[in-house]
């Protein structure tokens, strides 16, 4: 195991926290014992096959299931109209109506009259096997009358554009401004010595967790109960939304997320298939299941990004930025999924990046197109914001005539400025951005790389070197509930935890945070074990089943440790508070005279008089001799609502080599220095950075959900959609710099999205840096060999 060079934490008294610990989750995943959704099987289950629109926009004239019904094993073919009574007025939920006048068209699980994107469900086949369901879906004939489709987000707002939703009279869903002082912004631009004005395109991305989605809905015919198994990040939210959408009483619904094979935001949703299978199961009285194929996932699961960004910086003659102005066009796709409209807002507070900029203007217009809905994808709004400001800062550096690191240093929020109120109205918790950048520069050996770069340039080499910086800050720990209220989000941002001490002094932790690869079981057990002075292996962590963990708000937005972990931390404190009272009673001492050392309460200065944790646990269970009025058992529940976001930050440096003959780009070095606050398990932190960086670099170089002009998707499988393999992946050199967050008692911030946020602009800035002497000043994503070659050729005055 290679570790960070500075896993420094400020938890010196702890015996587990802050040190790498191998994951308890691993053995069952390594041996095949883990149960993913498609591994499950219920007696009498019925398979669903879904007929999906092959048209981007079309009236559905008819659904002919006769050929499908000839197939052995196919039992029913149902059109959207056939199914409509199952959900009545219920439509798929959007929980984030960001403005009061936001347009949100009714979104049925299966379309009844008009298909609005390729992949839109238009009919359903029921069958007795996986193969029969697939055969049946392929055999259904749908008669379409094509309508004009609008695919490009800028074309969608042009006069005379075809309308995705005719009844709305417009393709605009909402406009959301954040302009605290418009006059000051105008003044800054009129007085600026340097103005940078850029347009960037955030291509759509397919999240592509390795496990596709899947659903099994099991009805209790006599009880009226529904058990919904789903490969989801959000069993708790899904339970509420299923109740609301289908009118099933919430207390009759249990949602279980089995082992979940990655999510990256795309399993943070309430999907048509979850509602469809639930409705059919309750109606037919049999388990109903569906497993997504990879090709289906390209259009049936949300996509990420999809924005056109206009960013302007107004700077003085030294390059100090006085104002940032952003206009955003955000592609919603055909419908609003669970948090679709909110994604641009999550970036909308962060377009000034980690810089001390006085004035801010952000306006987002979100529009419908005839494509798969977008929604949260790793970073959700913050990668887009970071990309824009970090690319623009490089352009400013060129305009001012200083290095990328110098322009950043001149503009960083100073280390002594925290807590810092940003121009967008956030209170940044802690950080030392200059120290982080300095560390990254040192690790990258910048001087030596620049010398190599200069030599290659002087030699006119066809292998040009580029160095790309990305300094980022993100808002994590979603979220203070009152802030969410001010943003019109439909729920709170708290998290719940229960710590239950069993009679034999083993401990159960119940968390409302729902892991799908992040290692919560290992990390949570470390937190509890350290506080109780016991072995982490004596702590079991339970989650992801609403019958076991009834209260929670699940996993997204790098919130698990800073919100969910804090709830666990605080619940353990409550357990200790009660244990202290029992110990004082047992020792006939004043509770204030007790200290907890190595798993036992002792009277200060009298270590011989001790009440070990095990004895307290058993005493709490027998209840034979507890203090007067005390309830038996030792268990505490905490719901923690964070007082603020947390603000992880860092600087990443990518070094690329560009083959100027072919346009091929290789990442030859990658340095990441991140400040995620204190670390519970540095091994897990480092793993999150690795994976995040590759996902961000993949947006820069490889991935693109490609649509034709008439709305056909080209990249439907992993042969066409280029998720990078080990052969493309760089070696990551990772370090950390710790400024504990004052927001929560552990001083933690979050690391799940940092790599993805930082890497995309670092890599593209590096590509542009490599080619700037050839006249290249911009680079579209993904920077494929063809795109890079064309950019070089155009800059050299050749044909594109």
């Amino acid at each position: 195991m290679t570790m960070t060079d500075d896993p420094a934490t400020h938890m010196d008294s702890a015996s587990h926290m802050g040190r790498p610990r191998l994951r308890r989750e691993d053995p069952e995943l390594l041996t095949g014992e883990a149960q993913f959704i498609d591994d499950m099987s219920l007696h009498g289950e019925v398979w669903v096959g879904i007929v999906r629109s092959t048209e981007a926009h079309a009236t559905i004239l008819g659904v002919d299931g006769s050929a499908a019904l000839e197939i052995d094993g196919v039992t029913e073919v149902l059109s959207g109209a056939d199914l409509a009574p199952l959900w009545g007025e219920g439509a798929l939920p959007c929980a984030w109506p960001v403005t009061d006048d936001m347009r949100n068209p009714a979104h049925l699980p299966v379309a009844t009259s008009v298909a609005k994107y390729v992949g839109d469900a238009v009919a359903v086949v029921l069958a007795d096997s996986r193969y029969a369901a697939a055969d049946g879906a392929a055999a259904v004939s749908v008669d379409y009358d094509p309508l004009p489709a609008v695919v490009d987000v800028e074309a969608a707002v042009a006069d005379g554009a075809p309308l995705v939703h005719e009844d709305l009279g417009t393709n605009e869903s909402y406009t959301w401004p954040l302009i605290p002082n418009p006059e000051a912004v105008e003044e800054a631009f009129s007085n600026a010595a340097h103005v940078v004005s850029e347009r960037y395109v955030q291509q759509r991305l397919i999240p592509a967790p390795m496990e596709p989605r899947g659903v099994i809905a099991a009805p209790g015919v006599a009880s009226g109960e529904l058990t919904l198994y789903s490969a989801t990040q959000i069993p708790h939210i899904l339970k509420v939304m299923t109740a609301v959408t289908l009118g099933i009483p919430e207390h009759k619904i249990r949602v279980v997320a089995p082992s979940v094979g990655g999510g990256f935001g795309c399993k943070l949703n309430v999907y048509a298939e979850e509602i469809l299978c639930s409705a059919l199961a309750m109606d037919r009285g049999v388990p109903v299941r569906w497993t997504e194929s990879r090709s289906e996932a390209a259009t049936a699961t949300i996509q990420g990004r999809g924005q056109v960004q206009h960013i302007e910086l107004a700077a003085d003659d030294t390059g100090r930025v006085q104002a940032v102005r952003v206009k955003l066009l955000a592609d919603m796709g055909a419908y609003l999924q669970l948090v679709t409209p909110g994604v641009p807002l999550l970036g909308g507070f962060l377009y000034h990046g980690c810089y001390d900029i006085a004035h801010y203007s952000f306006e987002c217009t979100s529009v419908f197109t005839n494509k798969t809905p977008t929604d949260a994808y790793r970073g959700a709004g913050r990668p887009e914001a970071t990309y824009a400001i970090e690319r623009a800062m490089d352009s400013l550096a060129v305009a001012v005539g200083v290095t990328p690191e110098e322009i950043r240093s001149r503009n960083f929020i100073a280390a002594d400025a925290f807590p810092y109120e940003s121009c967008a109205g956030l209170i940044f918790d802690s950080g030392d951005y200059q120290a982080v950048l300095d560390k990254a520069v040192e690790m990258a050996g910048l001087e030596g790389v620049r010398a190599t770069q200069a030599q290659r340039r002087a030699d006119g080499s066809s292998r040009q070197i580029g160095i790309g910086f990305s300094s980022y800050v993100e808002m994590c720990g979603l979220a203070p509930s009152r802030v969410l209220a001010s943003l019109n989000y439909g729920a709170g941002g708290w998290e719940a935890a229960t710590v239950r001490v069993l009679p034999t002094a083993k401990v159960q932790v119940i968390t409302g945070s729902t892991p799908h690869g992040q290692g919560h079981e290992t990390s949570w057990s470390m937190i509890v074990a350290d506080k109780l002075g016991i072995d982490p292996d004596d702590v079991e962590v339970l989650h992801s089943d609403t019958a076991i963990s009834p209260t929670g708000l699940d996993t997204y937005g790098s919130r698990s440790l800073s919100v969910g972990g804090t709830a666990v931390f605080m619940a353990t404190d409550k357990v200790l508070d009660k244990a202290r009272l029992i110990a004082a009673h047992q020792l006939e001492a004043n509770e204030d005279d007790l200290e907890y050392v190595d798993g036992a309460f002792q009277v200060k200065g009298t270590p011989t008089a001790a009440a070990p944790f095990a004895a307290i646990a058993f005493a709490a269970f027998t209840a034979h001799d507890l203090p007067d009025g005390m309830e038996p058992n030792l268990e505490a529940h905490v719901t923690y609502d964070p007082p603020n976001f947390t603000f992880p930050n860092g600087t990443h440096i990518a070094v690329v080599e560009v083959d100027t003959d072919t346009g091929d780009v290789g990442i030859v070095d990658y340095v990441a220095v991140d400040d995620c606050g204190n670390q519970v398990n540095p091994m897990i932190v480092e793993g999150q950075v690795h994976g995040g960086v590759l996902q961000g670099a993949a947006q820069a170089l490889y991935e693109d959900a490609v649509y034709t002009e008439d709305g056909q998707i080209v990249t439907v499988n992993l042969g066409d959609y280029l998720v990078p393999s080990a052969a493309e992946a760089p070696v990551y050199r990772v370090a950390s710099h710790v400024t504990p967050s004052p927001t929560n008692p552990m001083g933690v911030k979050g690391i799940g999205e940092a790599g993805t946020i930082a890497a995309t602009p670092a890599v593209i800035n590096a590509v542009v840096d490599a080619l700037r002497p050839m006249g290249v000043t911009d680079m579209a994503m993904p920077a494929s060999p063809q795109t890079v070659w064309r950019a070089i050729n155009e800059a050299q005055g050749g044909a594109s």
Partner: protein, 160 residues
């Protein structure tokens, strides 16, 4: 339906399958060996990798009838009978080479086969040898380290 016989993880199994049944579906649905996962439908991701007569095969690229008479080893069959994990499984654990774990069984099977075939692997050899197996979580570095540890060729990694 066709009758076939497979020796799966050392046990002879007789199956009735449709001629078009993929090996991965025979393993998962008929034999209930669900450790082998399915990640795509274009033989791109490698999540379904198993060993057929000792060679790594994406079990979605092969019909079950094509494996008639073969020895098939799945992830369920690589640990010792006492539960001790295979050295490759153990190395993945010790190097934090998995997160969500969905690609892991296929990745482990491909890695076992790779190391057996090329005992003198270096970093690039591992990376190219595993390029048919996709992982979305780890960024691959810890996977490469785990495989190199088993291959005995040293390691790579972060600074210091």
């Amino acid at each position: 339906m066709e009758s076939i016989t497979l020796a799966v993880n050392g046990t002879e199994r007789n199956l009735e399958v449709e001629p078009r049944t993929l090996l991965v579906h025979a393993l998962r649905d008929d034999l209930r060996l669900t450790g082998t996962n399915i990640g795509c439908d274009s033989s791109s991701c490698g999540a379904c990798t198993v060993l057929v007569d000792g060679q790594s095969v994406k079990s979605c690229t092969m019909f079950a009838v094509q494996a008639d008479g073969a020895d098939v080893t799945t992830i369920e069959g690589v640990a010792d009978s006492d539960g001790t994990m295979h050295p490759m499984q153990q190395a993945f654990h010790e190097h934090h080479a998995l997160q969500c774990g969905y690609c892991t069984p296929g990745m482990v099977m491909a890695a076992i086969s790779l190391v057996e075939e090329y005992p003198d692997l270096d970093d690039q050899g591992v990376r190219h040898g595993l390029e048919g197996n996709l992982c979305r979580c780890t960024g691959y570095q810890n996977i490469v380290n785990a495989v190199l540890a088993v291959a005995g060729s040293g390691s790579e990694g972060s600074e210091s």
